[in-house]
Amino acid sequence: MIDDTICALATAAVESGIGIIRISGSEAVSIASKFIKSKSGKAVDISESHRIKYGFVYSDEEPLDEVLVMTMLAPKSFTGEDTVEIDCHGGVLMMNKILEVAVNNGARLAEPGEFTKRAFLNGRIDLSEAEAVGDLISSENDYALKASIKQLRGSVSDKIKRFRSQILEDDAFIEAALDDPEHITLDGFKSDLEQHVTGIIKELEYLISSSDDGKRIKEGIRTVIIGKPNAGKSSLLNILVGSERAIVTDIAGTTRDTLEEHINLKGISLTIVDTAGIRETDDTVEKIGVERALDAADNADLIIYVVDSSIPLDDSDHRIISRIQDRNTIVLLNKSDLNQVIVQSELESMTNKTVIPISAKNNFGIDKLESEITSMFFSNRINFNDQVVITNLRHKHCLINANNALHEVINSINLDMPEDFFTIDMMRAYEELGYILGEEVSEDLINEIFSKFCMGK
């Protein structure tokens, strides 16, 4: 679809005072009008361009948030299309909910880079930027795809794969019989199909309800502090958080599990994770901690690697350095107040990362760390932003669509429609579930028909 109505977060999905949801497309005003109402639930006229209106976002007759709404009619908007922007209260959960309301009222979640693409196609962005727009689309898409798959727990993706293969097999059977009616009969198949589809619906509905809002949504940039025991990781966390969250002792190996804290750094949300020190150990509990630390680092958007500058690098450091090679990392040379045995320039050339000397104990160099993080964020080197929330919502939306399609199948079965009518909705469910896994449909059906059923003259 090229000109349907899309919606997305216009601000980053982080904890902040204000968040903006943007809806763009020919239906933008009519969609927003459906859920923007006055406090008493009356309609609010938002059809006038470039005027700010006050109202509430309603979800199922319940007011959800107090908002300001600005309509910009085509062509005077960023995308060149009718656009409605909703200024709501910041907060990942709230923005997510409002986005969901927009989707439930007929908007489609924007593809990566789609607002910019539309702005470009509508002549709102200079032609010289075409290349950049293309880059944006392809990079955001790569990112979204990775994020989408990364977020699926193995058990969920296994389930979805199982649903898909069941749907495909049933559909292929029907198709095979339609193509070769003299060899393959569908007698009695309706009740099998009904049973299969009902089973999938049941599991889908469970997935949908459990994907609901109560669950913790990942917030902000996941920043993992890593390093050898006693390098000063927990001290750093405490400085950043401003409280004694982690137990800081000078006994190496005190932090045996990972600790998480949320902080706000000049408007950027960070989830800071303190981890157990990396070292060879025989202590089972500590071993698990080390594993978790490495896992946490693998899933981080940003790694802060803390090095004790007063003792020489060893195998554990090399293990860490190799692990962070192509990751966003800031290296901190801690304990700059003590005798230095590691030289900053050497560490820089060895890790190929920015190295900042600090003293967690004396609160020295922390400002440099903070400005490095903000500059990385604003130069887009780290940007774990909207996509996580989007993918959550996107997944849920696909599950709902697939579920609706399967209900249509059951409906057609109950109406005693001929079998070829089931396939339309079965393939729709198959496609929707495929979006979650990032798989395209193309030749799946034809291949399934040939591999499972004996066809032909």
Binding site: M1, E131, G456
Partner: protein, 634 residues
């Protein structure tokens, strides 16, 4: 050395089902046309199954007929049994199939060709295509040369060589270098094509044995009768003319013994011992394929079909094979009723050269050789019907080109023909391509019953459908629309009469008035059933009543599909400039760049169907096309 030299507008190479349609279309559009065949006696030959139509193939024939092709008319004249398949399923998958009298089919088509003004039939093997440089890296066709050295100048050439290019037939380890039925193969043209940088594939197909009817015990088989009344294929055929006596087909099963014979000799099958080079279709597997691939099935259905009225040869549908003669002998004898069977012709596999059809544009013209068109099995398809519709479209488009008119391209939402050609020219196809209803996304709209409504007008515009035929369709459409309007605006009340009728048909009774259309929508009712409630119903022909019923009954599904089509059309109308250099679009992924440069899709919709091109690539492409447009405007 002296040689014959003649000039034509169009030269068609091959007189099979594709070649006949191509040549007739060109000649009927007034172009001087010559058609070449290695044997005039093999015009429109049916070397494999003795039927036309079948699931989705019946749709193709109907569409071809609506556009002004010949196949539908020809089978209506020569069929000996007819059946509508899938009658218990939805209207979208109803499909007509007729058994042909093979000899009559061939003879009738030959007569039509021989009496067609502007058409010359020539028995000769074409050995070369003649081209000249036309543009940078582009050639233009100028004619063809035969093995005798004769030169035929032509402004357009349509290649419909079927399975004859470098063909060889295999029966076990016996290899014969012939076309089907021992006809000579064409051994030179492949080289000429390769010299013109045409990419070739090698495909394989097969056919079962033919046996003597007198040696079969019919008491052991289940009879398969034709339908009464018969529905004609062609929209121009008079209904009464096809109501005639029909012959029977028969059903028999293979058994464990048959399967054991095959398993015990599987190493002697060229399919399994590696002597076959070509890629076979998954759709029409040989019996040895079926037995090896589906070991759990202890029997397979075999249909016994007459090859014609004046022959005792019977075709064994479902039992093609490339086993050695002695194994075939044992295997055919192992079936019930076949104990004393006499084999007339052995089963064999055939290998042949064909092209990678992604080298073609949607009008079936080569991307890099102007004026050279291609159709049929030469394009990697399989089946008479698939061949015929391509022949028709290639012929039409060769004619359009020479007349300076716009190409006729049917899209996926207009016709199965559109699906077939789009699949061939955009998707890389590594086996003989067979039409299937599952390949059509919008099949609820592309029914065999409404092919005339969909396509007659286009056929008329092209010039292959007469004014009279076109008026018939317009009249039909008018009747349908009027009747639907009437049913939607005619209300009936909740009288006792109405309610007792409804409960007698297991339908809920009425508490208030309802339109007749709403009643027809109920699953347990239809247009014919409620006629007693419909006092003012006009007398309408069956084809109109059928359409009215379908359009009303399935309105909801049809509307949903129409919405999908509207979305599909948006990308389909976004043209891609032909001189686009994909390698210069750096943000396309490498795989997408390679595929797009190779296949050169004509619009964004086609690009989106190429495997390996992701939705993100399409977005990037859209952005690029837009900036390209602006740049070239400046």
């Amino acid at each position: 050395m002296a040689f014959v030299e003649e000039s034509y507008d169009v030269a068609v190479v091959g007189a099979g089902h594709a070649g006949c349609e191509a040549a007739l279309a060109c000649a009927r559009l007034g172009l001087e046309t010559i058609i070449f065949t290695v044997s005039v006696d093999s015009i429109a030959l049916m070397p494999c199954n003795p039927n036309i139509g079948g699931s989705s193939k019946g749709h193709l024939v109907r569409e071809l007929d609506a556009l002004g092709g010949e196949m539908g008319k020809n089978i209506d004249k020569t069929f000996i049994q007819s059946k509508m398949l899938n009658k218990s399923k939805g209207p979208a998958v109803h499909s007509l199939r007729a058994q042909a009298d093979k000899q009559s089919y061939t003879r009738e088509m030959r007569t039509t060709l021989e009496n067609q003004p502007h058409l010359t039939i020539r028995q000769a093997e074409v050995s070369e295509i003649l081209t000249e440089e036309f543009d940078i890296r582009k050639k233009k066709i100028t004619g063809v040369k035969t093995t005798s050295g004769a030169v035929y100048h032509a402004r357009a050439v349509v290649l419909c060589t079927g399975v004859y290019l470098n063909s060889r037939c295999l029966t076990g380890d016996l290899i014969e270098y012939t076309g089907p039925n021992g006809l000579r193969s064409a051994t030179h043209l492949t080289d000429s094509l390769k010299n013109n940088n045409v990419r070739m594939f090698r495909f394989k197909t097969g056919t079962p044995a033919r046996v003597d009817k007198r040696t079969l015990d019919f008491s052991k088989f289940e009879v398969q009768k034709g339908d009464v009344p018969v529905i004609p294929f062609s929209f121009s055929t008079k209904f009464e003319s096809v109501q005639k006596e029909q012959v029977d087909c028969w059903l028999v099963y293979t058994n464990e013994n048959t399967h054991n014979i095959i398993r015990n000799n599987i190493d002697r099958s060229p399919m399994f011992n590696g002597s076959i080079e070509g890629v076979g279709p998954r759709y029409c597997p040989s019996i040895e394929d079926k037995v090896m691939k589906f070991p759990d099935k202890n029997r397979h259905q075999i249909f016994i079909e007459p090859e014609g009225l004046y022959t005792n040869e019977m075709y064994l549908s479902g039992m093609s094979s490339s086993m050695p003669e002695d194994v075939q002998y044992e295997m055919y004898h192992s079936m019930e009723g076949f104990e004393n069977v006499h084999i007339v012709r052995n089963a064999y596999a055939i290998e042949y050269d064909c092209i990678d059809a992604t080298q073609l544009k949607s009008n079936l013209e080569f991307l890099n050789i102007d004026g050279l068109f291609a159709a049929g099995q030469f394009n990697g398809s399989s089946g008479y019907e698939e061949a015929a519709v391509q022949g028709l479209m290639a012929g039409i488009n060769a004619a359009m080109k020479l007349k300076g008119r716009e190409a006729v391209i049917l899209d996926r939402s207009q016709a199965y023909i559109g699906v077939l050609i789009d699949d061939l020219v955009t998707k890389e196809n590594f086996e003989p391509y067979r039409m299937m209803t599952s390949r059509s996304e919008y099949r609820l709209l592309l029914r065999q019953d409404n092919a005339d409504i969909r396509l007659r007008e286009i056929g008329h515009e092209i010039g292959l459908v007469s004014d009279e035929e076109y008026q018939d369709t317009c009249h039909k459409i008018d009747l349908i629309n009027k009747e639907i309007d009437r049913l939607k605006s005619t209300y009936i009340g909740n009288s006792d009469l109405v309610n007792s009728f409804l409960s007698a048909h297991g339908s809920n009774t009425l508490s208030s008035g309802i339109s007749l259309a709403e009643l027809i929508k109920r699953p347990e009712l239809d247009y014919e059933l409620i006629k007693d409630l419909d006092k003012e119903r006009p007398t309408l022909p069956y084809t109109v009543r059928e359409e009215v019923n379908i359009e009303i009954k399935y309105e909801g599904y049809i509307k949903r599909q129409q919405t999908q089509v509207d979305a599909f059309k948006k990308l389909e109308y976004k043209k891609i400039p032909l001189d686009i250099d994909y390698n210069s679009i750096s943000n396309l992924r490498l795989e997408a760049r390679q595929k797009l440069s190779k296949i050169k899709p004509e619009n964004v919709g086609m690009a989106s169907r190429i495997s390996g091109v992701s939705p993100a690539d399409i977005s990037v492409l859209l952005v690029y096309i837009e900036s390209y447009k602006h740049r070239s405007e400046k």
